[in-house]
C-alpha cells in the first residue's frame, strides 16, 4: 500500500489473535505475509476433521492437536524469522488479565461464540487496546473496529442471544422440526443416557399440574436382565404412544392445534428384529466401542437420505440397543455431542418419529445433526476475505488513521453493486452499560426471588460476567474466586438461598446493587424495583432487566441455509458468528446501505427464553436432592 511509515508501524507492532480456527488460520497467514513480526495467538480447541475444509494450516495428521500451536508451526515454515507465541488455553482464563492485554497494540478476534467475544471486548476496553472483531457464516462476513472512546464497543449494540424455546412447546406442542430435536436431545436423550440427578421435563404435560411422575419414572429404568429390544420398544411405546395419548386427553390444548397421533412400535416394526441383520448380541466387537453405529447395521449409508417412519423407528431401537450393549459404562454420564455418531443417529430418529406424530416434515441425519449440533456452515473463501479485511483495519489502527476506520460487510448478493460494503463505525452508545457505565434497572419480586436467581439469570447470563461480585452498598453479598476462605464461601452460599429482602443487607425497592467482574474490569449499577407479579408466558424468569435491551429481531439472522439445495426449512440456531447489520442509524458519511438482509428466520412469537437449544440444562436447574 504505501510508505516506510506504514511498514515500520507494522513491523514494530505486537498483535494478539484470539482464535486459530477458520478465520484465525487465514488471518495468521495474511498477517505474516503483510510483514507483522510479533504475533500472539490464543485458542483452546484441538483440530477436527471437519475443520480441514477451510483451516488450511492443518493436516489430517494434526487431528487432536492444539490449533494455536499447529497454526504457529505452519506459518513459521514460510516466515521462519517472525515471532509467534501460541497459547493452548481459554481466553477467559485469569492469566489473560488486563495487564496481559495491555502489552498489545491491537487485538484481532476470530471467535465463534458470543460469550468469549463479550469477554474480550471488556478486557480490551479495560486495557484501552483497539479491537478488530469479525465473523463469518457461509458466504456472509463482517469486520468491525472498536476503539475505546472513538467508536462503539462490541456490546454497544446488543447481539442476538442463542435461540430458545418455551418448555411447553418442546414437551407438548411442537410445530417445527427444531422443537423435536430439542425434545430428542435435551429431554429424551438426557433422560435415557444422561445424569439421572438432573431434573427432566420429559413427562411434564402442559396444563396438567399433577403428573404421576413417580410411576412413569420407572419406565425409563432398565431392569438388569431386561431384553434390550423389549426395553427399546417399551420406551418407544411410552414416549411416542402413551405420552401422546395422555396429552390428547387434554382437550383444551388441541382446540386450535393439529392433534398428534400416537405411534406404537408394533404397528411400525416387525416383531423379533433381533434375529435380523447384525444383532448386537452376535457382534464380536468388544463391549466398549465408542465408534459403533446403527446405520450400517441397517444398510443405511447416506446421511443425506430422508428416512421414513419405519427406518427411523429401526434406527431408534437399534441405536438404543447399541448404547446398552456397547457403551453401557457411559450411560448415566452422557451428554449429546454432535461428533458422537450413535447419539446423532438416536436423536435424529427420535426427533423424526416425534415429527411424524405431529405432522412436521422429517429431516435427514445430515440436517438433524446440523440443527442438534448447532453446526455453523463455513467455507474457506469467506474466511480468507474477512482475514484480508481484518488486516487492513489493523493497519489503520496502528497508524491511528481514525478517519479511515471502517466496518466492512461481505455480502452474498450485491447491494447497490457492492459485494464488499464499507461503513463508517458508529460513535459509542451513551446507553451502553459496558463502555458508558449506564445504570440498569431490574424489576423483580424482592420477597420471592432469591439471590441465586439474580446471579444466574442476570449477572452471569445476561450481563456475561465470568467471575462476578455482587455488592449492596458496603456489603459484599456474593463473589466468586479462588482465594476465598471456607467461612466466606459458606456465607455466600447461604446468601444465594435467601430472598433478596432477607439478605443481611436487605435488597428492596429502591436499592442499588453494584455488580462487578474484576477480570473484565466491568462494573455495573443496578437499580432494583420491586414488582409483585410477572407474566408467566411473557416474563417467565420472573424478572425484567432494562437499559440492557435485546436487539430487534430484524437484525440479520443469517444462518439460514439459503443455499441448501434440499430446501428444507433448516431453522436458525446460534447466529453470533453472523453479520449484524446496524438497523439503527447514527452518523454515516456514506449513503445509507440498503438493508438487503435476507429473510429473517421466523422468530418465535412465544419468545420466552426458557430452554437453550445447545445445552442440556433445563429451566429448573435444580438437582434432585439426593436422599
Amino acid at each position: 500500500m504505501d510508505t516506510q511509515q506504514q511498514q515500520s508501524s507494522i513491523q514494530g507492532a505486537k498483535v494478539l489473535m484470539v482464535g486459530a480456527g477458520g478465520i484465525g488460520c487465514e488471518l495468521l497467514k495474511t498477517l505474516a505475509l503483510s510483514g507483522f513480526q510479533d504475533i500472539h495467538i490464543i485458542d483452546m480447541d484441538t483440530i477436527e476433521v471437519s475443520n480441514l475444509n477451510r483451516q488450511f494450516l492443518f493436516r489430517r495428521s494434526h487431528v487432536g492437536q492444539s490449533k494455536a500451536k499447529v497454526a504457529r508451526d505452519a506459518v513459521l515454515r514460510f516466515r521462519p524469522h517472525i515471532n509467534i507465541r501460541s497459547y493452548h488455553a481459554n481466553v477467559k482464563n485469569p492469566e489473560f488479565d488486563v495487564d496481559f492485554f495491555k502489552q498489545f497494540d491491537v487485538v484481532l478476534n476470530g471467535l465463534d461464540n458470543l460469550d468469549a467475544r463479550r469477554h474480550v471486548n471488556r478486557l480490551c476496553l479495560a486495557a484501552d487496546v483497539p479491537l478488530v472483531e469479525s465473523g463469518t457464516t457461509g458466504f456472509l462476513g463482517q469486520v468491525t473496529v472498536h476503539v475505546k472512546g472513538k467508536t462503539e464497543c462490541y456490546e454497544c449494540q446488543t447481539k442476538p442471544a442463542p435461540k430458545t424455546y418455551p418448555v411447553c412447546t418442546i414437551t407438548s406442542t411442537p410445530t417445527k422440526f427444531v422443537h423435536c430435536i430439542v425434545w430428542a436431545k435435551d429431554l429424551l436423550f438426557a433422560k435415557l443416557f444422561g445424569d439421572k440427578n438432573q431434573d427432566n421435563d420429559l413427562n411434564v404435560r402442559a396444563n396438567n399440574a399433577a403428573s404421576s411422575s413417580k410411576e412413569t419414572e420407572d419406565v425409563f429404568e432398565r431392569a438388569e436382565d431386561e431384553d434390550i429390544d423389549q426395553y427399546g420398544r417399551k420406551i418407544y411405546d411410552h414416549v411416542f404412544g402413551y405420552n401422546i395419548e395422555a396429552a390428547l386427553s387434554n382437550e383444551e390444548t388441541w382446540k386450535n392445534r393439529r392433534r398428534p397421533r400416537p405411534i406404537y412400535s408394533k404397528e411400525v416394526l416387525p416383531e423379533c428384529m433381533s434375529q435380523q441383520n447384525g444383532s448386537t448380541q452376535n457382534c464380536s466387537a468388544t463391549d466398549d466401542d465408542s465408534t459403533v453405529s446403527a446405520m450400517p447395521l441397517l444398510g443405511l449409508k447416506n446421511p443425506q437420505e430422508l428416512w421414513g417412519l419405519t427406518q427411523n423407528s429401526l434406527v431408534f431401537i437399534e441405536a438404543l440397543k447399541l448404547f446398552f450393549a456397547k457403551r453401557k459404562k457411559e450411560i448415566g454420564h452422557l451428554t449429546f455431542d454432535k461428533d458422537d455418531q450413535l447419539a446423532v443417529e438416536f436423536v435424529t430418529a427420535a426427533a423424526n418419529i416425534r415429527a411424524e406424530s405431529f405432522g412436521i416434515p422429517l429431516h435427514s441425519l445430515f440436517e438433524a445433526k446440523g440443527i442438534a449440533g448447532n453446526i455453523v456452515h463455513a467455507v474457506a473463501t469467506t474466511n480468507a476475505i474477512v482475514a484480508g479485511l481484518i488486516v487492513i483495519e489493523a493497519i489503520k489502527v496502528l497508524k491511528k488513521d481514525a478517519d479511515k476506520y471502517r466496518m466492512t460487510y461481505c455480502l452474498e448478493h450485491p447491494s447497490r453493486k457492492m459485494l464488499l460494503m464499507p461503513v463508517e463505525p458508529f460513535e459509542p452508545n451513551p446507553a451502553c452499560y459496558v463502555c458508558s457505565k449506564t445504570p440498569l434497572v431490574l424489576e423483580i419480586n424482592t420477597r420471592k426471588s432469591k439471590l441465586r436467581d439474580l446471579v444466574d439469570k442476570i449477572v452471569t447470563a445476561k450481563l456475561g460476567m465470568n467471575l462476578p461480585l455482587v455488592m449492596h452498598g458496603a456489603s459484599l453479598l456474593y463473589e466468586v474466586g479462588d482465594d476465598l476462605d471456607a467461612i466466606m464461601v459458606a456465607n455466600y452460599n447461604a446468601n444465594l438461598e435467601k430472598s433478596l429482602s432477607e439478605l443481611p443487607s436487605p435488597v428492596i425497592n429502591g436499592s442499588i446493587l453494584t455488580v462487578e467482574d474484576l477480570q473484565q474490569e466491568l462494573s455495573c449499577k443496578i437499580n432494583v424495583k420491586h414488582r409483585e407479579e410477572f407474566d408467566e408466558e411473557k416474563e417467565p424468569e420472573g424478572m425484567v432487566l432494562s437499559g440492557w435491551t435485546q436487539s430487534p429481531a430484524t437484525n440479520g439472522e443469517s444462518a439460514s441455509t439459503s443455499n441448501n439445495e434440499n430446501e428444507k426449512a433448516v431453522d436458525v440456531t446460534e447466529s453470533s458468528s453472523g453479520p449484524e447489520m446496524a438497523s439503527k442509524k447514527r452518523r454515516l458519511s456514506e449513503t445509507q446501505p440498503e438493508n438487503d438482509k435476507k429473510e429473517t428466520e421466523n422468530v418465535e412469537s412465544d419468545d420466552d427464553e426458557l430452554m437453550e437449544i445447545e445445552n442440556p440444562v433445563m429451566v429448573s436447574k435444580k438437582k434432585k436432592r439426593v436422599e
Partner: protein, 322 residues
C-alpha cells in the same frame, strides 16, 4: 447414482461447505477441471481456496523461476533456496497445493499459454488467467468461445492494493433463490474483447475508475512489451500520454481516469497480501458458483480498492450503446 455419490471421506471433510452449497454442488465441484495461468499472490490464494473446496483437478501454468518478488505475497513458496532453486513457480506451488487436499489432482503444464491450440482448452471447465497481457487474454478467451463445450473464462489482476476480476460465462443458465423458491435464470456475457472495447462515453458516471485505469495500463504494457508489474514511476509520463489518447478517442475528459490512480498502479508493483486474500477469495467464490451452477454470478467485472474498502461489481458491455 453409484460412483456419483460423494465418498464417506468426502462427506466428512466437506461437511461444513456442503451445508452451504449442498451435496449436488459438491459433486459437480469434484468433477471439475481448472486451468490456472500466472501465479502470484492473488492467484496463490485462489488456488488454495479451490483446492480446499475440492475441485477435481487444478492445472498450473507458470514457468517463471522463483525470485524474491515471488516469495513476497505467495505463501505457497517456502523461503528455502535449496527447495526452490531451479524450479518454476508452478512446480513449487503444485507441491504445496497438493498438501491442502490430497483428493485434488494438482499438476503442472509447461509452456506458453497463448501458443496453445483451441483443443487444449477443451480439457477444462474453467480457465483463469492471472496477470495476463492484453493479447493473451483476448486470444485465450476467443479460443474458449470457439469450443462447443462451455468453458468458463476469468482474468484476474492485482496491483498495489487494487484488484480486477473479469468473468465470461458466455450463455449461462443457473438457479438462484428468490424468496422461498428456486428460480431459473439466464445471462449472456460479452467476450473479453467486447468488454474491454466498450466505448467509454456511454458508460455510467459512477462506474469504478479502476475499469478505465486498467485499460490504460493494458495498452501501456502491450505497447511497451512489458510483463505485468514491469513498470515504475519513470513510466508515468508515457502512461499519461496513453490515457490522454484514449480519453480523446472516446471523447471523454481526462478526469475520467484519475492520474493518482494510474500512479498507484504503476508504482505499486508488489501485491498487497490482504488484497490478495480478498480478491483471491472473491474469484474462488465465483468459480465455485459457475461450476455448481448455483447462485448469481458476477457480471462481468469486479473491482476492489483497499483505499476506499469497496468491492464492487460492474456490468460493462455494449448494451450501453444500443
Amino acid at each position: 447414482m453409484d460412483g456419483e455419490e460423494l465418498t464417506e471421506q468426502e462427506t466428512a471433510l466437506y461437511d461444513r461447505q456442503i451445508r452451504v452449497w449442498g451435496a449436488n454442488a459438491q459433486r459437480r465441484l469434484t468433477k471439475s477441471h481448472i486451468l490456472v495461468s500466472g501465479i502470484k499472490g492473488t492467484v496463490a490464494e485462489f488456488c488454495k481456496n479451490i483446492v480446499l473446496a475440492g475441485v477435481g483437478s487444478v492445472t498450473l501454468m507458470d514457468d517463471s523461476l522463483v525470485n524474491e518478488e515471488a516469495l513476497n505475497a505467495n505463501f505457497l513458496i517456502p523461503p528455502d533456496e535449496n527447495a526452490y532453486r531451479g524450479k518454476t513457480v508452478a512446480e513449487i506451488c503444485c507441491d504445496s497445493l497438493k498438501d491442502f487436499n490430497p483428493m485434488v489432482l494438482v499438476s503442472v503444464e509447461k509452456g506458453d499459454l497463448s501458443a496453445r491450440s483451441t483443443e487444449f482448452f477443451e480439457k477444462f471447465d474453467v480457465v483463469v488467467i492471472g496477470y495476463g497481457s492484453l493479447a493473451t487474454k483476448k486470444a485465450v478467451n476467443e479460443k474458449c468461445r470457439k469450443l462447443s463445450k462451455r468453458v468458463a473464462f476469468y482474468t484476474v489482476d492485482c496491483r498495489d492494493s487494487c484488484g480486477e476480476i473479469f468473468v465470461d460465462l458466455q450463455d449461462y443458465k443457473y438457479t438462484k433463490k428468490k424468496l422461498e423458491e428456486k428460480v431459473e435464470c439466464e445471462l449472456n456475457f460479452p467476450s473479453f474483447q467486447e468488454a474491454v472495447s466498450v466505448p467509454w462515453k456511454p458508460i455510467p458516471r459512477r462506474t469504478a475508475k479502476l475499469y478505465f485505469a486498467m485499460r490504460v495500463i493494458e495498452v501501456f504494457e502491450e505497447n511497451e512489451g512489458r510483463k505485468h508489474g514491469q513498470c515504475s514511476l519513470l513510466d508515468l509520463p508515457t502512461v499519461l500520454e496513453i490515457k490522454k489518447k484514449l480519453c480523446e478517442a472516446n471523447t471523454v475528459s481526462e478526469s475520467h481516469v484519475p492520474d493518482s490512480l494510474l500512479e498507484r498502479l504503476i508504482t505499486g508493483t508488489i501485491e498487497f497480501p490482504p488484497a490478495c486474500a480478498i480478491v483471491g477469495g472473491i474469484l474462488a467464490q465465483e468459480v465455485i458458483k459457475a461450476v455448481s451452477g448455483k447462485g448469481e454470478p458476477l457480471n462481468n467485472f469486479f473491482y476492489y480498492d483497499a483505499q476506499d474498502g469497496k468491492g464492487v461489481m460492474e456490468n460493462i458491455s455494449n448494451s450501453f450503446t444500443s
